[in-house]
Symmetry: C2
Subunit: 154 residues, 2 copies
DNA sequence: TAAGATTAGGGGTATATGCCCCTATATGTC
DNA sequence: GACATATAGGGGCATATACCCCTAATCTTA
């Protein structure tokens, strides 16, 4: 801080509060996460966890690195998020052929869990879709996907 | 789990992976947060922290409860998020007239910090806006605001 | 093939976030 | 004014998330 700046005024503050993409996106993520979490409570899974189980279901046996890339998440954060799933026996984590790698696999129990969760997810999804309308949902997706692609490194 | 369900198949899994509003929103929030965080690094503030400082700047002295409502966040989560700001002397937390309340106020240092951060925020914001286009940004806002309003309790 | 470069993960540290339950304080009612 | 109720926060617990740095394993190249 070299030159003395004119202090942030109320108008600037309001502009930031109203238009900040980071704020609005995080806020929405909080709300939506709570909503899905609530819907998933009967099967004792958080939405974040279902997302991971489902991603593993899609990818099959997959390294941490590749899974992290698929869900666009920091590797070490992902590794930590996998721990509760491992502890509950929903996934298995083993050394890969390449000994540097850890390979993550869905267990039988994990597949069952995802299977139970699916209809609940569908219901949550349907409600949100209902509220936003088909069109609203499409534009939301387009915007958010755009954001991911454009701010993502590498 | 009473009746035996048919196991989640690949198509269902892919549908969930592609269309889950929770997933896509969280993913976008992660990316955008990283982007803003990086831009704000020179002033040693995280985007979440700037959002809070700015909200306090707008509201003036404000109780935890009211601030939480303003940013649509869990009270206790918010209280915790305020701690690092308090520790750095950017805000002050005092008992209110109503002794149940804690009143949060921006300090001189906090205002300075927000002031320094503002141009960096503007730059980040401009870049995102640039990428999405004015229109894209507007629809994004409309959708995400809609989501917040509709999933919010009370 | 041995030395250097690259890659995959893990651990440390810090923050962000929510739920539940407990305590302190107010408020409202008889 | 005493008691029931409602409200504001705090603490415990668990998870989510990122960055940095370290180690182990693999790959590249002289």
């Amino acid at each position: 801080m070299s030159a003395k700046l004119k202090a942030l005024d109320q108008n600037q503050a309001i502009e930031m509060g109203k238009s900040c993409v980071c704020f609005i996106t995080r806020r929405a993520a909080r709300c939506i996460t709570q909503f899905y979490d609530e819907m998933l409570r009967p099967v004792d899974l958080r939405s974040t966890q279902l997302i991971l189980l489902n991603s593993i279901r899609i990818l099959g046996s997959v390294s941490i690195k590749r899974l992290a890339k698929a869900v666009v998440m920091d590797r070490s954060a992902l590794a930590r998020n996998l721990k509760p799933l491992d502890k509950q026996g929903l996934i298995r984590i083993e050394r890969g052929e390449d000994l540097r790698e850890r390979v993550v696999t869905l267990t039988k129990l994990g597949l069952e869990k995802a299977t139970e969760a699916f209809p609940l997810w569908e219901k949550a999804q349907a409600e949100v879709q209902n509220k936003l309308g088909r069109e609203g949902l499409d534009t939301l997706f387009a915007s958010l996907s755009g954001v991911v692609l454009l701010t993502r490194k590498k």
